[in-house]
Amino acid sequence: MELQRNAQAGTFESSDIMILIEPLKNKQGRKIEISSSVMLQYGDMLSELVNNILDKYEIENVHLIAKDKGALEPTIIARLETAITRALNQQKGTLL
């Protein structure tokens, strides 16, 4: 799917993750930057998860920055889902 706009979700609090998304033009691919307070232990899992969710939404061209403070998997998935639906302009039931 084609991203419509810049979007973000999450916070810099402990146990949360901040996701920033910027649409890229066609064929530019995925540019993913991940930093985490638990990079050594969970960095690989985190990057796999980000790619899986992007696959799920069929997003191929994106610049995504993830700043993780030890978020658990359901939180990471939720923040990705929120940021992506916002970037797709598909967010529901919220003020912009």
């Binding site: 609090e13 402990s14 039931g93 003020l95």
Partner: protein, 289 residues
């Protein structure tokens, strides 16, 4: 034995740290909040987070309720569409004022349940009374549906709705408290008292809880885990109360077998209401009889 609801702990719906730890504090019930605790531009974020947490975090044996936004807001319907299919133990509906809006809420919930092939009798509804109009209609609201199994009072909003200032002693909402309890008792459902906002005032919390217990509230909403133990202490019968209740039940059984309905212990008459109260005491103390 019914689910105990001595404490219902509010957890902000957009706070992962608190959502993941909600189950550990020993509260009887959790209130994952999509309403007042969430900023208007983070409603989607909180809703999606709560959905994911409900799907994967264990809250052990704690009752889990989700407070949704009112149907008059642009968020309420989407909250229900997302949360109802997950069937938490209960949905808490804010600012309930009339039977009409309660009916609308239940119709929406049941149509979502139909869509997902879910039963209509598993998830219950807690109606929150937060306005003068809601207080006036509370009996009808409590009576309207079997799904409503608790009425709760939102003290902050009610105080504001009634234009009461300087209300720390709670006298302004005292009638509302009692009407809500009465409506709940008349329909044999729970009545939950409002939060005590000053988390550092342990003595104030204890006094207010003692009062709530005295006028018939089943429990109290909680905004900080540190408040839980104090409220539980107030609602837990003392050893002397338990001993006496136990004795009453024992004597009652003995007398019942002999065909005697009313008898005396230590010169005090024991009849059906005294026995019922003794049972309630033992229930609260989690003692089998």
């Amino acid at each position: 034995m019914k689910t105990k609801r001595r404490t219902m702990l509010y957890i902000p719906g957009n706070n992962p740290a608190m959502l993941q730890q909600g189950g550990i504090y020993g509260a009887d019930s959790l209130l994952l909040d999509l309403e007042d605790a969430v900023a208007l531009n983070e409603k989607d974020s909180a809703r999606i987070l709560v959905k994911n947490m409900l799907n994967s975090i264990s809250y052990y044996n704690t009752e889990v309720c989700v407070r949704v936004n009112h149907l008059d807001t642009p968020f309420g319907i989407e909250d229900l569409e997302t949360i109802v299919p997950l069937q938490p133990d209960a949905i808490r509906f804010p600012k309930t004022e009339t039977v009409k809006e309660l009916k609308k809420l239940i119709d929406i919930i049941e149509s979502i349940e139909n869509k997902h092939n879910l039963p209509h009798n598993k998830m219950t509804i807690h109606a929150m009374i937060e306005t003068a109009l809601g207080v006036q209609n509370v009996f009808e609201i409590a009576k309207f549906s079997k799904r409503v199994d608790a009425i709760t009072i939102g003290g902050q909003d009610l105080t504001a709705d009634m234009n009461i200032v300087n209300a720390k002693d709670g006298s302004g909402i005292d009638l509302a408290r009692k009407m809500i309890v009465m409506a709940a008792k008349a329909n044999n459902i729970d009545a939950i008292d409002t939060v005590f906002v000053d988390v550092n005032d342990e003595e104030g919390l204890r006094l207010e809880t003692e009062y709530a217990k005295k006028i018939g509230f089943t429990g109290k909403a909680v905004i900080n885990p540190r408040q839980i133990d104090i409220i539980h202490e107030v609602y837990t019968p003392t050893e002397a109360e338990i001993r006496r209740a136990f004795r009453i039940i024992k004597e009652f059984k003995k007398n019942k077998d002999a065909g005697i309905g009313v008898f005396a212990i230590d010169g005090k008459m024991v009849d059906a209401p005294v026995v019922a109260r003794a049972r309630h005491t033992l229930d609260l103390a989690e003692i089998k009889y």
